[in-house]
């Protein structure tokens, strides 16, 4: 086979993989120039930081392996280019020691990551906020009293129906007649632990709050909970992240994080508006976009 001097460039091409790979991530992380906001969106969830920390931890770890293997591959391709040297090849079938080393090291690292993150996962998905730990003074046992959801969010092609569970005129929660019904416009108080009950009325949807690092598929027939604590006021997107039909892309909601007083005022206003219009919510609320 003929050797061409161009062959030297192939190793360089492969060197570009770690170089440009790291550079792409670096400019995105630094958000320089056109890469402004090309990184994790602002996290406004008190409990979301742990997800970002874990993301960075894995990013640095895998980044090091990516650079290491990439450089090794470049170096071997450069050094052992058959057109450049005529030494006999290293006639070896492998190394037991190396195999043991490069099995045990990744295994230990991977197991470490696995165990290290378990607590974060449990906080996000398993330890629903408790307001009273019960008589045994221990959380996670059967006599815990869970925090009531602030609202029930129901996905439906292609909108988010929100029901605030209010005591209303009869002074009792759980009676839906006097609840506040809203579409696509979720308001929550800042700096408070918020629990939402999420459901689906028809197909699968996924309740995704990018700025709060919250995502949970909603499944018809199932009742699920998400919890978070927003620590900054503002308006954020509610995204549907599970394909729900042709209009999936437009199943957009808005999350407004506001002070407790603003929130209370908004609820009161909306409730008054709802009572005054006297329309059943199904007719007034379907015009979403």
């Amino acid at each position: 086979m003929g050797y061409s001097r161009w062959n030297r460039w192939w190793s360089i091409l492969f060197l570009l993989v770690p170089v440009l790979g790291v550079a792409t991530f670096a400019v995105s992380m630094a958000e320089v120039g056109p890469f402004h906001r090309h990184w994790l969106p602002d996290n406004v969830n008190e409990f979301g930081g742990v997800i970002d920390d874990l993301y960075y931890f894995i990013l640095y770890l895998t980044g090091a392996i990516f650079v290491g293997t990439g450089l090794a591959q470049f170096w071997f391709m450069w050094k052992y280019d058959g057109g450049q040297h005529s030494e006999p090849v290293k006639y070896t079938h492998g190394s037991h020691t190396l195999e043991v080393v490069w099995s045990i090291l990744p295994a230990a690292t991977l197991l470490f990551i696995a165990i290290y993150q378990m607590n974060a996962w449990a906080d996000q998905k398993m330890r629903r906020p408790v307001i009273d730990v019960g008589s045994d003074q221990e959380e996670g046992t059967a006599d815990d009293v869970y925090q009531e959801p602030l609202a029930v969010v129901t996905g439906r092609q292609f909108e988010w129906r929100i029901r605030y569970v209010l005591p209303g005129e009869d002074g009792k929660t759980g009676t839906s007649d006097d609840d506040l019904h809203i579409v696509n416009d979720l308001h929550i108080p800042v700096n408070e632990k918020v629990v939402l009950q999420i459901e689906s009325q028809d197909v699968l949807h996924s309740f995704f709050l990018p700025n709060l690092r919250v995502k949970q598929d909603v499944v018809p027939g199932m009742k699920q909970f998400v919890w978070f604590q927003a620590n900054r006021t503002g308006v954020y997107d509610i995204v549907c992240a599970e394909l729900c039909g042709w209009g999936h892309y437009k199943m957009k909601g808005r999350l407004t994080v506001e002070s407790r007083s603003d929130f209370d005022r908004w609820v009161a206003e909306q409730y008054a508006l709802q009572q005054s219009t006297q329309l059943p919510m199904t007719t007034s609320m379907t015009e979403s976009e």
């Binding site: 086979m1 062959n7 192939w10 091409l13 492969f14 993989v17 792409t24 991530f25 995105s28 402004h36 906001r37 990184w39 994790l40 969106p41 997800i51 874990l54 990013l59 293997t69 591959q73 071997f76 391709m77 052992y80 058959g82 090849v89 290293k90 006639y91 070896t92 079938h93 492998g94 190394s95 190396l98 195999e99 490069w102 099995s103 295994a107 696995a114 993150q117 996962w121 028809d202 996924s206 995704f208 990018p210 700025n211 995502k215 598929d217 499944v219 018809p220 027939g221 199932m222 308006v235 954020y236 995204v239 992240a241 599970e242 394909l243 039909g245 999936h248 892309y249 437009k250 957009k252």
Partner: protein, 602 residues
């Protein structure tokens, strides 16, 4: 005509007798594994084109949302003035994935390369069951017809994602593509399954029963190990998908309620019965489709191992660890399916179990990468086109493997699930990984298939442009994923969070157009070289494994002598040999020093 170890009585011998010399029995309903392999190859390459064009449709919408599609827009959607409609977009990504997975990657690896290479590389004259083999190809055709005709059903094709999650897929009212198109989709996938099952049984039997004398299991090339483990995976995983497919079909057409919960109403139509569970489908689907991810990469890993060893002119580093690691991937592959469902509503406690097994499956993949690097270390690397594709497989698979760790980490997966991070991940594994290995494999075995070389210069241009454009298209997807950019949205830009990502998407689209355009070079090279390429002999690459001892192209019965195997396939640079390779069939220099081994099975 050889009779290999008397293992079978060559039922296909009739096929090339004088009475059956007609075109139809030779090239259409052929029983010859090589013709069947080429039939798979041509069919899948054609579908590769279809899948690529569907991808360009997706990319067009993401770069120029609601803009008139140039040229073909007016033809396809005249009533919308040349725009892609959201339901059409939903169909595009559903059918892109369906075509690429079920009609390209799975059949090109197992069907094309598996068929062509298995008998040649183990020293057999054909598959164990030639008729079954022929049927495995012809059962693809009902699938081609079903999926092909679904493009003409209402909705222009199935549109509930390639994962086909109910209730979107089971309720006919749920979406424009949830009608007959979805039924055709299910039938198509079922026929692919039947075809794969026929292939799988045949491959396992052939590899176990029909190896040439001396070809022990641990003398098999890695390609064959990859094919063997893949066949085992298919045999155990496919029945679950087939059953699940029929359950979904029943939900759709008979009115059962396997996947429909109580009192389900979709788009103002009620399900006939309830009491089912949508998550059941996800469990059954991923019980097949996660192993299918390995079905889509293990043969590629095997091919890459063979190509890298050949062009490093050096033995494969750690042959047995390589075999154990693909077996480990296959074993663990059955207990990781839940990692597709971390945020699905599955019990989060189960998420911890699946997270741990998923983390562990990264280990055998890492071992393989280290061994490939060990193979090129100290070699005498020849930068041929197949070698460049194989080297890029290693480089790209590292990216695809490492990004998997992010999503295996359950808390991180909460954020990146169903975003472009996932899209980046599986395109690095399946396109930058498997498809690049497939290209490498085609360049590598082309001289065996057609007796002519593909043009090296065009091959290198094809490689360079594909490599550059694929990274331009897919690497940037990681960045989109970090912002949380969701998959499957026809217009993500009306969200404040994602509005500013349009320029990056335009860049990616132009890279994707470049990538698809580059394949014209490949297609030209392929067909030109078939007829006008440089003629070569049996072993143009100086490779060791058995297929290179057969004529190029091999006739019926493959070998014009009885292959006897004296050693493993990776004895490159052996001091025992005068050349820098040492074919498996070449007897040792001093007769008697190495007694002729007994047959692998008696």
């Amino acid at each position: 005509m050889s009779s290999v170890a008397g293992a079978h009585d060559a039922p296909h011998e009739n096929a090339h007798g004088h009475t059956f010399g007609s075109f139809v029995s030779t090239y259409v309903f052929s029983l010859d594994h090589k013709i069947i392999g080429l039939q798979f190859l041509f069919s899948t390459l054609l579908w590769f084109l279809v899948g690529g064009l569907l991808a360009l449709g997706i990319r067009w919408q993401l770069a120029y949302p609601w803009h008139d599609m140039p040229v073909i827009g007016r033809m396809l959607f005249a009533e919308q003035g040349g725009q892609i409609s959201p339901e059409f977009y939903t169909m595009l990504f559903t059918m892109h994935a369906t075509v690429m997975i079920f009609f390209v990657i799975i059949p090109i690896l197992a069907g094309a390369f598996g068929n062509y290479l298995i008998p040649l590389m183990i020293g057999a004259d054909d598959m164990a069951f030639p008729t079954l083999n022929m049927l495995s190809y012809w059962f693809m055709w009902p699938a081609f017809i079903a999926i092909g005709s679904s493009f003409f059903a209402p909705g222009n094709g199935a549109a509930s994602g390639w994962t086909s999650y109910p209730p979107l897929s089971t309720m006919q009212t749920a979406s424009p593509g949830s009608g007959p198109a979805q039924t055709l989709w299910l039938l198509g996938v079922t026929f692919v399954g039947i075809s794969s099952m026929m292939g799988s049984v045949n491959y396992m039997t052939t590899i176990i029963q029909m190896r040439a004398p001396g070809m022990t299991m641990f003398r098999l090339p890695m390609t064959i190990w990859g094919m063997f483990i893949t066949a085992v995976l298919q045999a155990f995983a496919l029945p679950v998908l087939t059953a699940a497919g029929f359950m979904q079909l029943m939900d759709r057409v008979v009115g059962t309620g396997f996947f429909a919960p109580e009192a389900l109403v979709v788009n103002n139509a009620a399900a006939v019965t309830g009491g089912g569970q949508p998550l059941l489908w996800q469990h059954l689907f991923w019980f097949y489709s996660h192993p299918a991810v390995y079905i889509m990469i293990l043969p590629a890993m095997g091919m890459v191992s063979d190509i890298i060893a050949c062009f490093s002119r050096k033995p494969l580093f750690g042959y047995k660890p390589m075999v154990y690691s693909i077996s480990g991937i296959a074993g663990l592959g059955f207990i990781v399916w839940g990692h597709h469902m971390f945020v699905s509503g599955m019990n989060p406690v189960l998420g911890l179990t699946f997270m741990t097994s998923t983390m562990l499956i990264a280990l055998p993949s890492a071992v393989k990468v280290f061994n490939w690097l060990g193979t090129i270390w100290g070699g005498n690397i020849q930068f041929t086109t197949p070698m460049l594709f194989a080297l890029s497989f290693v480089s790209m698979f590292v990216i695809g493997g490492l990004s998997g760790i992010f999503m295996a980490a359950t808390p991180v997966d909460i954020f990146i699930h169903d975003t472009y991070f996932i899209v980046a991940h599986f395109h690095y594994v399946l396109f930058a990984g498997t498809a690049m290995a497939v290209f490498g494999g085609i360049y590598f075995w082309f001289p065996k298939m057609f007796g002519r070389m593909m043009d090296e210069r065009l091959g290198k241009v094809h490689f360079l442009l594909t490599f550059v454009f694929l990274n331009g298209t897919f690497f940037t997807m990681h960045i989109l994923g970090a912002v949380g950019f969701p998959r499957r949205l026809a217009d993500p830009y009306h969200y404040e969070t994602f509005r500013h990502l349009l320029p990056m998407n335009r860049f990616m689209t132009w890279c994707a157009i470049g990538m698809v355009g580059t394949q014209i070079i490949f297609a030209f090279n392929f067909f030109y070289s078939m007829f006008f390429g440089r003629r070569v002999g049996r072993n143009p690459w100086g490779a060791n494994s058995l297929e290179w001892a057969a004529p190029s192209p091999p006739g019926h019965g493959n070998f014009d002598f009885q292959p006897i195997v004296y050693r493993g396939p990776y004895e490159y640079g052996s001091p025992e040999s005068d050349t820098d390779y040492y074919p498996q069939t070449q007897p040792p220099p001093t007769p008697g020093a190495h007694p002729v081994p007994s047959p692998a099975h008696s």
